[in-house]
Subunit: 443 residues, 2 copies
């Protein structure tokens, strides 16, 4: 099996090999506690076995639903936020053409419900005016403010446009199996629906219908994605020292040495949202009890010309993990030019990617020299299968890292804080006392 | 004059008012040294007076060039990286419709030369195949690798497609006044060209043709942008205590207390690239000599569901600055729903923006309560004029902050490190010794 690789050899300039070695038993214990289900937050460990548990029938059902929706529409608005947004977006942006939203394609995916921008919704409604559109709405409860607002607006518009019956055929819901507003509505209106398992948190849900259905609607291969996750699961769960324990041990060793920011870097703009997905995964899992490594993303070489200076010579508190893609899908050679005014003829005949690869290697060396420990994750190609491997690798490493730092990696109690204030300010029923208190405070 | 506002009152929960007060004289001295031109890096202070110095003739020239290019093309590819990319992109993304790249518009702007993605260029060339396109190429030297590769590829394609004469009319160059590859080529081929001043660094160049011309090509009001900068310049240079000294003093006080990450947050997705521009401005200016505040961006409420947990309860090392836009351009009301399954009827009849504003206020309160000092920048509306004010405000505050921390805010020596390695690895003529050394190291 060809697979993604993890290399932490450059870390050894910063942490002694023995220091990382000493963390392996700790990482292995953490992994064991995940496997045994006796870690903190163990009611949310469903993601561990997800790849194995998805059946061919479930995948087929999603593929057929996607096909049906595609046949009725030219645009599908995927409504979701956080874990109900980033996984699908990460895969779709990684696999779609860079200009897929500019040119012609048989399906456009638009995301909504992930912000409360009034102009965003005005422009979205306006854009959809003359389009045949459908909706894929993702919410466990159906009452999360951002997606609920978006769904109200778009459902109303769609029903006005095509009638309630046709709208019912163009709306797919991904929600709780039994309870909640969206479950009730889906059952009432006869929407096709899929289930968000109870034991999988949002940021670990990309391999449930939450991620898989939108990816299928966009036209990408969800079987390959799951296959990749199955492969990485096998690789990581069957041996104690594996890429996930290595990554967890290396970053934990660095963190304990005082490196408290981790940069995840790509050299391919299509990986931008995979990095955003990773930021949620690690940030939300580790950032609690005043602990955690601050997760930041950089797209290189773009950001070498913005954040590059800081990384090279700013405070020495950053570690860096580079995601490298070995083989591009297409070939572009750099042309020769007789005048050679730009002095680029030494590159003539080379592939663009050769330059990119030397930028990557040159950057890694420069950052290590400058005092930034470097780790490397290599994907053979940017395909659904390797992205599936990457997801499982990061999820498992995240669970292990969180256990090692002593937090519950599977809750997110801090996310309620802004919501509670917002509800109090908006005088939501049930928040009367909080409303009074916050109004008093603001005086 | 209506103008953007800066409020740092919430910082006083974390730093005593007197502690900030004690920094004002320092901030004022830094401002004075910028005005007197006796600070470090004083050969790059051109940005201070740029807004006043641009003449109506220069603006007209850019507007007419933009008009001519628009009349010949449907797509313009803007080639540039770093400071020759982010300023224009920030304004265009802030002022364009959220779906401008999806729907019909009389002009599309595509950015290139800011990465070395082989698939990106393959797909770009493919996309441009059947388009009437033009090129706006921005490079001081004309030899920076990323834009030089992009320009070689696109110039060759354009000349093949429409012939060298017509191509010459569709290419505009923004480059050095006298020297460099692009200047030579522009003069040879008779390209319309504009000048990058010698005394303005890339990240401070948005109010030169580097930023202004692409913005004009996209169809936005560059006079209003400059007007805004003129207003903020007047406001800040005519009084010692002004928004820029306040911001510089407040963030420096927090930094000296140990807050070493600054989050710039928006509640409007259109501001995303303004934050990217800010990250370069501050990161590249302050991140040197192992000093600096790590600049990170968050788009709320989107990222409240990813980075929110970390911000609320992670390590207490972050300060946060929120950019708030008071008034949206359009109106969308939240509809009522008889069934009210989503329990959103308490919001029925409210504008979407009212919810957004309460999310914003609720977030600021929650973050302060959680231990994240908060600062606030308010724009009355998201218009070119207020963005112009914002740019000058941030540029001046950045210059002051950099001087206060003792670095040269106007150089970026660390950016060369990866380039030197890359050239050595690619065996660029002149790098023979370095090539040998790096090959030896890699063995």
């Amino acid at each position: 099996m060809n697979s993604i690789k993890f290399d932490y050899s450059s870390v050894c300039n910063f942490v002694k090999k023995e220091e990382i070695g000493m963390l392996f038993p700790e990482a292995e214990r953490a992994l064991q506690s995940l496997k045994d289900g006796n870690c903190k937050g163990n009611d949310f460990l469903g993601w561990l076995d997800l790849p194995e548990q998805i059946t061919v029938e479930e995948l087929k059902d999603m593929e057929e639903t996607a096909r049906a929706l595609r046949s009725r529409t030219e645009v599908v608005v995927v409504i979701g936020i956080g874990g109900s947004y980033l996984g699908a977006r990460a895969v779709i942006e990684a696999l779609a053409g860079s200009f897929h939203n500019f040119g012609k394609a048989d399906m456009k995916i638009i995301f909504a419900g992930h912000n409360i921008g009034e102009d965003y919704y005005y422009e979205l409604l306006n854009y959809l005016e003359d389009k045949e559109f459908g909706i894929c709405v993702i919410s466990k409860s159906g009452t999360t403010t951002e997606p609920a607002i978006a769904f109200r607006l778009l459902k109303e518009m769609l029903e006005k446009k095509v009638g309630r019956t046709e709208a019912g055929k163009r709306i797919v819901a991904i929600t709780d199996a039994h309870k909640g507003a969206l479950r009730t509505l889906a059952d009432q209106e006869g929407y096709k629906s899929f289930i968000i398992p109870d034991n999988v948190g949002g940021r670990f849900s990309v391999l449930t219908p939450v991620g898989l259905l939108p990816i299928a609607i966009a036209g990408f291969d969800i079987r390959a994605l799951v296959k990749g996750a199955v492969e990485m699961r096998k690789l990581c769960l069957e041996q104690e020292i594996n890429p996930a324990t290595e990554y967890a041990a290396a970053r934990t060793a660095l963190h304990r040495k005082g490196y408290n920011i981790e940069l995840l870097a790509d050299f391919n703009p299509k990986l931008h949202y995979i990095i955003e997905w990773w930021k949620q995964l690690f940030g939300e899992s580790e950032g609690k009890d005043h602990k955690g490594i601050f997760p930041a993303g950089v797209d290189f070489t773009t950001d070498l010309h913005s954040m590059g200076q800081f990384i090279q010579q700013g405070p020495r508190m950053m570690m860096e993990t580079v995601i490298s893609v070995e083989k591009p899908h297409h070939r572009v050679d750099i042309p020769a030019d007789d005048a050679n005014l730009d002095k680029l003829n030494f590159l003539a005949g080379k592939r663009v990617d050769e330059v990119n690869k030397m930028a990557e290697l040159g950057t890694r060396l420069a950052h290590v020299d400058g005092g930034v420990p470097n780790m490397l994750v290599t994907l053979p190609e940017l395909t659904a299968e390797y992205i599936g491997q990457l997801f499982y690798f990061f999820e498992l490493a995240c669970g292990i890292s969180g256990c090692m730092s002593g937090v519950n990696p599977f809750d997110q109690p801090g996310v309620e804080a802004y919501k509670n204030n917002m509800f109090a300010l908006l005088e939501k029923p049930g928040y009367e006392e909080a409303s009074k208190a916050i109004q008093k405070r603001l005086k």
